[in-house]
Amino acid sequence: MNEGTAMKSGASTASRAVIFFSLTLAAIFAQAQDTDLRSYRLGSTASWSEAVSVGVKELALSSPATPDEMDALIGEAEEIAARFGISVYREIDLLVTDLFPDDVAKDKHVLMLYQPPTLEKYMALKQRKAELIKAGEYADKAREDIARGFGRLLSYPDAIIDQKLIDRGIKLSGRPSFNGVWKSPTISLDDARWHIQDVACRNGCSEVSYEYFRDLLSDPANDDTSVFDLYGDTQEFNRKYVSSLIRPTTLQSWANYDAANDAALDCTPQGDGLQHQISAPPAIKIEHSGDRITITYEYWNAVRTIYLDGRSLPDELELSRLGYSIGQLDGNTLVVTTDRLTPSQISLGGNKFYLSEGAQFIERYTLSENGERMDILWNVIDPVNLRGPYTGKMSWLQAPGWVLDKWSCEAITGEF
């Protein structure tokens, strides 16, 4: 479910196709225990041959087989590949990189399915690795580049390569990456990297109250005052700040609002606005591939696409819950502008109101130097209701090895 407005491109279609083929083969492999292994391997050779022949993958690998198994397989595999007009190379010493476990093809042979000149590229990569090892320079970025080179030959999107490296505990060199699964304070309270103010603002604070709280904590005069009490002061400060930001007419219209009328969502996300989607605590996954970034949220299984190709916000588009997002990368910061949002209820400092139809969000995702932390600031721009932009803040940490869970929802109906 992509609740933003999606646009297809060759690159993303190819990525999806790679994933589709991979999943298909994984499914086949899962059943392979009950299947003749040779037939399975030849079947997957046909699938990968087609993927390579139509340009979905530049290079495909068979599953590793013992030398004897490969001897019995290769003749027919070559015939299958030839039917698709692609080449086969029997690799007896597969390039080992940080993409896969070191022993993934240990003592086994692999068939490489490719179209020229891919084999030359692969061999050059292998040669480069050997040279680096010989020079004692196979480390850090050079080592990562070998893995990336291999991943790109396999037509993996950069986001997938990042994810595979992160999941294997590899610290990415160079520019920090947004790619990966991220965890909020709420679901990782024990992580010692969280600041006190992060925990307090785990569901999002205004930026000014975050800084106010941080300043209170850093003032030695407050050492004898509990964190809880300082946070109480901060909340009071925030209430005044937000009240001064919200237009009197908006405040007045909600003065007599009954919370019983709050949006009550029966396992459907409608009515749950962008701010809550951004700041909800379940894990998120970011994938940067080419000219777009995809953010997948566990919360509601929502998916946002952020276009980085320089396009403008379209004038004529239906309003949607998560709107239409365009973005720019500026060093370690991703700036996202979102428009065309369905008016939804928002809560700022305990004040609730409905955003106007023209409301806009500008989000800034900033990575720390080591890439482990991501701070998000979001501006809510709604001149109808606010005298100026409201800026919210919360933070996330990289969560290597985590995978997103599916948001399975079960509404209560007719109970009690």
């Binding site: 309270l189 941080r214 300043d215 509990s226 964190v227 009328n261 969502l265 894990a283 399975s408 209560i412």
Partner: protein, 149 residues
Amino acid sequence: MNVIRKFMLVAASLLVPVIVIAHHNAASHYLLDQKITVKGVVTEFRLINPHARIYFDVTDKDGNVEKWLGEGNASSVLRRRDWKDDSLKPGDEITITGSPARDGGNKLDWESIVLADGTELRGGNTKAGELEQQLRELDKRPRRPEAKE
């Protein structure tokens, strides 16, 4: 007060059968500025979204059994905090504190649960109480080294 409140709610629920058709925002269903405490025995625990649920029986002094429902945080949050499908089991005796239902039904938005052996579980959807506990724990941590980024 809690006992009185409880029986007022029970009485109200008997007089006005209520069907709850939607769930998410706690404020729409619960009186978040009020608290009640109820003792009961778990009949079912469901670790699900949008809110975990505890079904439990409450027996009054005359031996009458009432069915109750407690709602907590989302499964997506609790599972990351090591809650499991069997974190509460049928037969577990619990003392559960939370915000009562607006409609007077036998429901609460739980803030804390105390088991028979004194173990306290949190995991509630009502953030205030849990946040207070966590902020008080943060008093043990140094403030200055981390105060400025």
